[in-house]
């Protein structure tokens, strides 16, 4: 998000600010029960307290650590598998029905089995993230590679490029936009699945923090947790895009 030339109105901040004002006004006017929807001041108070005693940082770090491990592993596996399938299409012929089967299983439905097999430690949460993010990354990467314009690979053939060089200098760069779309989607899915996993079996993390707050009837902490998740997710996405753009500017050409 950036402040555009149109100023504040064009920055995308108008809607959140209007909602905040409405929320604040409604809370102060007593339009709803403060237990069901606490005021912004109350949520902010919980946020500051949580930061002061270090609880929020602990939960955020626990969640981020799982995201880094799960999404990192998933991205490496999905991209490698997409490359392998594009290089050896026979693999895909054998694997496609199996992959289709797994693609349609909601990751959350595997939680009971994952807990049974791996306990309530870190492993089931990481595996859940992998299950949730593998397919968007894999499918977008494979599609990007498949969609490479054959007219461009013909140019490389005319100039004597080997199969590997055609892949390295033509197919891969042309697939980058699709690969990035898949990675962004995967990153988003990893957040969703992580919070779901932490709601089920965890002793740390933002999902756990929300569940714990629910049991203590602290709707202000629940709301704070939701805001932190949304804000962190958006910042991760912007950060990811920013990093990729810098990398691309520096020279995917090289």
């Amino acid at each position: 998000m950036k402040i555009s030339k149109e100023g504040f109105m064009g920055s995308g901040l108008t809607v959140p600010v209007l909602l905040l004002i409405l929320w604040w006004a409604g809370s102060n006017a007593g339009w709803w029960n403060a237990f069901l929807l606490p005021s912004p001041e109350r949520v902010m108070e919980s946020f500051i307290l949580s930061i002061r005693d270090g609880e929020l940082q602990r939960h955020v770090w626990a969640s981020l650590e799982r995201i880094i491990k799960g999404f990192g592993l998933s991205a490496v596996m999905a991209l490698s598998f997409a490359l392998l399938c594009s290089w050896f299409p026979r693999i895909l012929v054998h694997m496609e029905p199996t992959l289709e089967f797994f693609r349609h299983i909601p990751p959350m439905s595997t939680v009971p089995l994952l807990i049974l097999w791996f306990g309530i430690g870190e492993a089931p949460k990481i595996i859940l993230i992998i299950l949730a993010t593998f397919f968007p990354v894999y499918m977008n990467a494979l599609q990007g590679i498949r969609d490479c314009d054959p007219k461009l690979t013909e140019v490389a053939t005319v100039f004597g490029y080997s199969k590997w060089y055609r892949f390295r200098y033509v197919i891969l760069p042309s697939a980058i936009p699709s690969i990035l779309t898949g990675l962004r989607l995967g990153l988003g899915y990893s957040w969703r699945s992580l919070v779901a996993a932490e709601l089920v079996a965890a002793s740390s993390g933002l999902g756990y923090m929300i569940l714990d707050a629910e049991q203590l009837s602290r709707s202000d902490v629940v709301l704070m947790g939701i805001f932190v998740i949304g804000t962190l997710g958006a910042f991760l996405d912007y950060g990811f895009l920013w990093g990729i753009r810098r990398y691309l500017k520096r020279g995917i050409e090289a």
Partner: protein
């Protein structure tokens, strides 16, 4: 020993319910340093012939001999090719598109200078850092020509390179191509639908019909050619008659 010899070249395409003979026994000798223009109706085999020479298709029968050596996938012809569309890599700058044939080996300072020289020759000085989407159709096609010339090929193949351009850009690029041909000492093979263009540019015009050579017409005219001259008009009639027969 001829420079480039094509012997009984045949190409058959296997479609679902029929076989199509795209080339039906082409016998042709191409002299070094010439500008051969191939004309013919759609489906006459012009592009197929060019694609076989570029190594993009395999012949069904026949052979291509270059300086007495048989050409094939392991010993391709030393060609650079310009397609109907520029086919520039959208993620590469103009300079790196020109140097595309050298990317796997790495771009040295010498090659950088070579790209700048080519851009100067093509009238694209200052555009080295531009991206393909910032270029007009004519400029992009010039970059494609620069890319074909950058690897210093002995033969430049062009498959209707000016076909997608407007009249004025087309005329400007025709003059540009002739200038490059006259100064480069390379052999040019070009496919076109435009008979006037063929006679303005070529030293020989080849008329293809049903995958065979219908006529091979030398063009003994100096550049720049006057299309109102008697010889030009009589050659135009000759090519058109051959095409009508085709």
């Amino acid at each position: 020993m001829s420079w480039l010899k094509i012997r009984n070249l045949k190409k058959k395409f296997y479609l679902e319910d029929m076989d199509v003979d795209a080339l039906n026994g082409i016998d042709l000798e191409i002299e070094e340093g010439g500008f051969l223009v191939i004309v013919g109706r759609s489906g006459s085999g012009k592009t197929t012939l060019l694609r076989i020479l570029a190594g993009l298709e395999c012949e069904t029968e026949g052979e291509i001999l270059f300086k007495g050596r048989k050409c094939g996938p392991d010993s391709p012809l030393p060609v650079g090719m310009v397609f109907q569309e520029p086919r520039l890599m959208p993620w590469l700058s103009v300079e790196n598109n020109i140097l595309f044939p050298f990317l796997p080996g790495g771009i040295s300072g010498e090659l950088h200078q070579k790209a700048l020289d080519i851009l100067k020759m093509l009238g694209l000085e200052g555009y080295e850092n531009a991206m393909p989407h910032q270029l007009s159709g004519g400029m992009a096609q010039r970059v494609a020509l620069g890319r074909a010339l950058s690897c210093d090929p002995e033969i430049v193949l062009m498959d209707e390179p000016l076909g997608a351009l407007d009249y004025f850009t087309r005329r400007a690029l025709q003059r540009e191509l002739v200038r490059i041909y006259l100064h480069g000492g390379k052999t040019f093979l070009m496919v076109t639908h435009d008979v006037g263009e063929a006679l303005r540019m070529g030293t020989r015009v080849l008329v293809l019909k049903d995958g065979k050579i219908e006529a091979s017409i030398p063009v003994p005219l100096e550049y720049p050619r006057d299309r109102h001259s008697e010889t030009f008009q009589s050659l135009l009639d000759e090519v058109l008659t051959a095409l009508d027969d085709a």
